[in-house]
């Protein structure tokens, strides 16, 4: 099928930006998070499993935090309950930080790319 004259197409794609270096840096960050190949060895399987489990815990932890803040804002918690809830969530955050360090995972590692619907966190 030939293109009709009213349907022209320029020969090559053009890229327009006045902040090329900034975009290169950001796009490199995105591609660096994509695994080029799945390595099936004991170490990577263990770390991969830890990453998945900790991501889910992190997701639930953030939900709990939001729920706690909403309840605090709603005024249905006594000062003692707020303190207790805050301390529990603080310890959970510290424990998760400890586990991340143990498995060599950074903050940005705890996420899942869900494709077209975006990221989990």
């Amino acid at each position: 099928m030939k293109l009709s004259p009213e349907n022209p197409l320029s020969a090559a794609p053009e890229i327009e930006t006045s902040h090329a270096e900034e975009f290169v840096e950001q796009l490199r960050c995105v591609t660096d998070t994509l695994p080029s190949r799945i390595n099936i060895d004991a170490q990577s399987v263990e770390q991969g499993l830890a990453k998945l489990v900790l991501t889910l815990i992190e997701f639930i932890r953030r939900l709990l935090e939001k729920q706690a803040v909403r309840r605090m804002e709603g005024g249905d918690l006594s000062p003692e309950q707020i303190e207790e809830l805050g301390l529990a969530l603080m310890r959970l955050e510290a424990k998760l930080q400890e586990l991340k360090t143990q498995f060599g995972l950074a903050e940005e590692d705890l996420n899942l790319d869900l494709g077209p619907i975006g990221r989990l966190i």
């Binding site: 293109l3 022209p8 197409l9 794609p13 327009e16 902040h19 207790e84 969530l89």
Partner: protein
């Protein structure tokens, strides 16, 4: 021997010029069910993910873009000829619907970076009560501030997305938008634009970006419609993994 599959197209009877694809393999046209598929014969079970192979895949898909709008396959699709023929036969109505969607169009891409520090965050408000509260309550107060800040960023990002849609809405047939309010690269949009509207689309974006001087834009294209074709075109055995 397997077939490496680049893209599927309608109305192509011959390749415009000889072109080499992944691993330098020659490309040929396979006709099936009134459709044309660009393939290479490869004696391999998987294709290495290298810069050369990625560019080779893109060059082959690109080679017919000035004649028709192909549906690109995912990089690394390696199947037998029978699998490919069965796949096309089984999904012909869906493939024709996809081809109708992209017909006469190309993909244009807009990426936007924002300065996260430029988003106003709620200031911490200290009161006598805060000074008296314990570590747990202070922790929750700080979390509240973070959550409110996150919500503000989500609203701001959604506002940018709406603004972009309203800017080019009349010129696009379809769009795929990814919003990431917590990241610097806050928005990535793929727009399906009719070929005769590309210039108008570019002008519209160039004009509109003046309204948002704090945002950094990257506009690129025309590209084959990668964002509008791949998902439903996946084989169950991508990357040659059985």
């Amino acid at each position: 021997m397997k077939l490496y599959v680049y893209c599927l197209a309608e109305g192509v009877d011959a390749l415009p010029e000889p072109v080499n694809g992944v691993s330098g393999a020659p490309v040929r046209l396979l006709k099936t069910e009134d459709l044309s598929v660009l393939v290479s014969d490869l004696n391999a079970d998987a294709v290495p993910v290298t810069r050369e192979n990625a560019l080779g895949h893109a060059a082959v898909v690109r080679s017919i873009l000035d004649r028709t709008t192909p549906l690109p396959f995912r990089f690394g699709t390696l199947v037998t000829e029978q699998q490919l023929r069965n796949y096309v036969a089984a999904r012909k109505p869906a493939l024709e619907t996809k081809l109708a969607l992209v017909r006469g169009c190309v993909e244009m891409s807009v990426k936007i970076i924002w300065e996260l520090s430029g988003i106003e965050q709620p200031e911490p408000v200290e009161s006598d009560q805060d000074n008296k509260q314990g570590a747990g309550a202070t922790f929750l107060t700080e979390k509240r501030r973070e959550i409110l800040g996150g919500e503000l960023m989500e609203e701001e990002a959604a506002d940018i997305s709406t603004w972009l849609h309203e800017t080019v809405g009349g010129l696009i047939r379809s769009e795929q938008v990814s919003l990431r309010p917590a990241e610097k690269l806050v928005l990535s949009a793929a727009h399906l634009v009719e070929r005769d509207k590309i210039r108008q689309y570019r002008e519209k974006i160039s004009e509109a970006r003046k309204d948002r001087p704090k945002l950094h834009f990257l506009l690129s294209g025309p590209w084959p419609p990668y964002s509008f074709a791949n998902i439903e075109l996946e084989f169950k055995t991508p990357f040659g993994v059985s």
